[in-house]
Amino acid sequence: MWQQLYDELKGHGFMVFAVAMDSRGPEIARPWIEAAKSTYVSVIDTEHRLADLYNMVNVPEAVWIDETGKIVRPTEVAGSGDYFRKMDRQTKALPDDAKIMREEMRSLYMNALRDWVKDGTKSTYAFDAKAARAHVRPPSEDVALAHCWFRLGRHLYAAGNLDEAESAFREASRLHPDSWNIWRQMGDIKHQGQPNPEFWARVETLGDRRYYGKIDMPGMP
């Protein structure tokens, strides 16, 4: 997804650091990584360490980091939106209005990224320190505890202790219900890569609330 953008911008001092949150291991991520033929950094995070460190709840989420290691856009959704909820659940086809929305959001986000890479601090998309801080979502104590349980669950799963792993994942998800990462990873393990039959029902429980958080950029729906 990011290769074209990376090719276009790598001459401007730009790196994509893409992280696969796949607890079932690198072999699960391999087909996607090989198909992407990416030349940027592409790593696997079986323990979801990034979600813990950056308080992430979903994929794709991203953080923009400047040359000095400062965050100029804290964790946010990387150009996706709730248009996917209009998907035909049998054929997985998107209606035209959802496709248009997908393209709009994606190109707004990509253009914002281009603007920042080329213009740096002059870019309207790079927050100054005050605005960046205002966009940080600090985790709650329950979220911190949820990541602790998730880490134990992942370890137990890797050790083959599936029952206890599942109860650790469940506890993590109970403590951190906003984390689709935890819930979907738990489902992926349970169903071994097959679609989770409970997915759409859980999405429905959101009602008017968003699945993907709002991206705070001018023009973004």
Binding site: W2, G13, F14, M15, V16, F17, V19, A20, M21, D22, P26, A29, V41, S42, V43, I44, R49, D52, L53, Y54, N55, M56, V59, P60, A62, W64, I65, E67, G69, K70, I71, P74, A78, L113, W116, G120, A129, A132, R133, V136, R137, P138, P139, E141, A144, L145, H147, C148, W149, R151, L152, H155, L156, A159, N161, E164, N181, G187, D188, G193
Partner: protein, 136 residues
């Protein structure tokens, strides 16, 4: 032996289990977590949590540290497997939050498909787009 699960990964360390407590070598704990006992308390980087006066022996005996008790004393989450062999030492919400609010991007070391480890900090000097995805 027990496995300590930390934000740096999994570490098999020699340990002495005692109920809710787990005694491990101070050096091994520092390697797994970055936290170390110093004269001013239990410290990582510039942060130190002082030990309760007169109760130091509950936390340290010779080269051994009561890791779980120290963790709880510092207000950090700790959970353990039913067999007591895997201890997940989490990071408190307040430390996470203050780190994020400092805007200094937390570093992480993760392997690629060939097992080669990459760090975010390897790419300082460039603008970094740190992005997640998943197969699921």
């Amino acid at each position: 032996m027990v496995t300590l699960l930390t934000e740096r990964g999994g570490f098999d360390v020699k340990a002495r289990k005692a109920g809710e407590d787990i005694w491990v070598d101070a050096g091994a704990l520092a390697e797994a977590t970055g936290w170390d006992l110093k004269p001013e308390g239990f410290c990582r980087d510039e942060i130190c949590v002082p030990l309760p006066r007169g109760r130091e022996s509950e936390f340290r005996q010779g080269a051994e540290i009561n890791a779980a008790k120290l963790w709880r004393h510092a207000g950090q989450p700790v959970v353990v497997s039913r067999d007591g062999n895997a201890w997940s030492l989490g990071t408190s919400a307040s430390l996470r939050g203050s780190k994020l609010e400092s805007l200094q991007a937390p570093d992480v070391a993760l392997p690629d498909l060939d097992g080669r480890v990459h760090r975010i900090s390897d790419h300082l000097g460039k603008k970094i787009f740190l992005s997640t995805w998943a197969s699921w």
